[in-house]
């Protein structure tokens, strides 16, 4: 420990004297992959522990519904819960942002807004199971942008999207990529 303390000022002197300081830190891809792992885990747990257990397929104590606020025992759909998380994070920090988007959004504001988002969403749709990683410059800031697939994993997802009055696509099947999670980190 003493050696480490002694080495620290030496490093600082070397850097101050023109020695090359090595860049350290987490790779953007590892960072966004890790964020996505947490998001996935939370969404899975909400689906499994709340929706499946307490919803119509379980105790039927809650009604998972797009318009959950209008029902006394309504509960947000997993995708809505995911969006609320994204909105809460946006209020907290600009260090990263995330959103759930689709080439066929039920709500048009959830479509891609940048070229990289569009390319990424197209890529994950054409290559099921693959992620997309890219870089883009927005407002003079360079960003690392990752797009992860969002898959139709349950019949209610498919039925709701195909039957929604505002849906631009009505032929989703179980296992289809319906959209993607876009995570953006300034570089």
């Amino acid at each position: 420990m003493k050696k480490l303390v002694a080495a620290l000022p030496l490093c600082l002197v070397m850097v101050g004297c023109g020695g090359e300081a090595k860049q350290s830190g987490i790779e953007p891809k590892v960072y966004t992959d890790s964020l996505f792992a947490v998001m996935k885990a939370d969404r899975t747990n909400y689906t499994k522990m709340i929706i499946k257990r307490l919803g119509p397929a379980g105790a039927s104590a809650i009604v998972p519904d797009e318009h959950w606020e209008d029902k006394p025992n309504g509960a947000p759909l997993p995708a809505q819960m995911f969006r609320y998380g994204a909105e809460a994070v946006a209020e907290m920090t600009s260090d990263f942002s995330y959103s759930l988007q689709s080439l066929w959004p039920v709500n048009s504001q959830n479509g891609p807004r940048t070229e990289v988002e569009k390319v990424g969403l197209t890529y994950i749709n054409d290559n099921p199971g693959e992620n997309f990683y890219g870089e883009e410059e927005l407002g003079g800031v360079k960003y690392f942008t990752a797009v992860y697939p969002d898959v139709a994993v349950a019949a209610p997802c498919v039925d709701c999207h195909n039957g929604h009055k505002d849906t631009p696509r009505t032929d989703f099947k179980l296992g289809d990529v319906m959209g993607g999670v876009v995570i953006r980190v300034p570089m």
Binding site: K40, T44, K52, A154, L174, G175, V177
Partner: protein, 106 residues
């Protein structure tokens, strides 16, 4: 139990002159076209291909047990992952392939 079936599979492969079990190649194709979309990502808790931490507990189960789960649905996974056009044999091959990848990654 699963360990035994994996050993049997490996032994059979060795005894047949080191030729790869054809079920693995068939299973890989089924995986790529049907299972990868969730199992490459861990969507809804699906064990990620090659991830020994996620597959570890499952390797303790028999192939038949894993197949039964995949065919009938398990946890948040729908029956056959929602790919109802797949035959039981195709699903079985996909399981052989996915479990073989855990062994390789270890």
């Amino acid at each position: 139990m699963k360990g035994i079936s994996v050993i049997t599979l490996v032994l059979a492969t060795v005894l047949s002159g080191c030729a790869e079990d054809p079920r693995l190649a068939l299973g890989e194709e089924v995986y790529r076209q049907n299972c990868k979309v969730c199992h490459a990502q861990g969507i809804n808790g699906a064990p990620i291909l090659g991830n020994s931490k996620m597959w570890g507990p499952r390797l303790g189960q028999s192939h038949e047990e894993l197949l039964s789960h995949a065919l009938s649905g398990y946890g948040l996974m729908p029956a056959k992952g929602g790919k109802t056009h797949l035959t039981d044999e195709q699903v079985s091959n996909a399981i052989f392939y996915m479990t073989s990848q855990v062994e390789i990654s270890n």
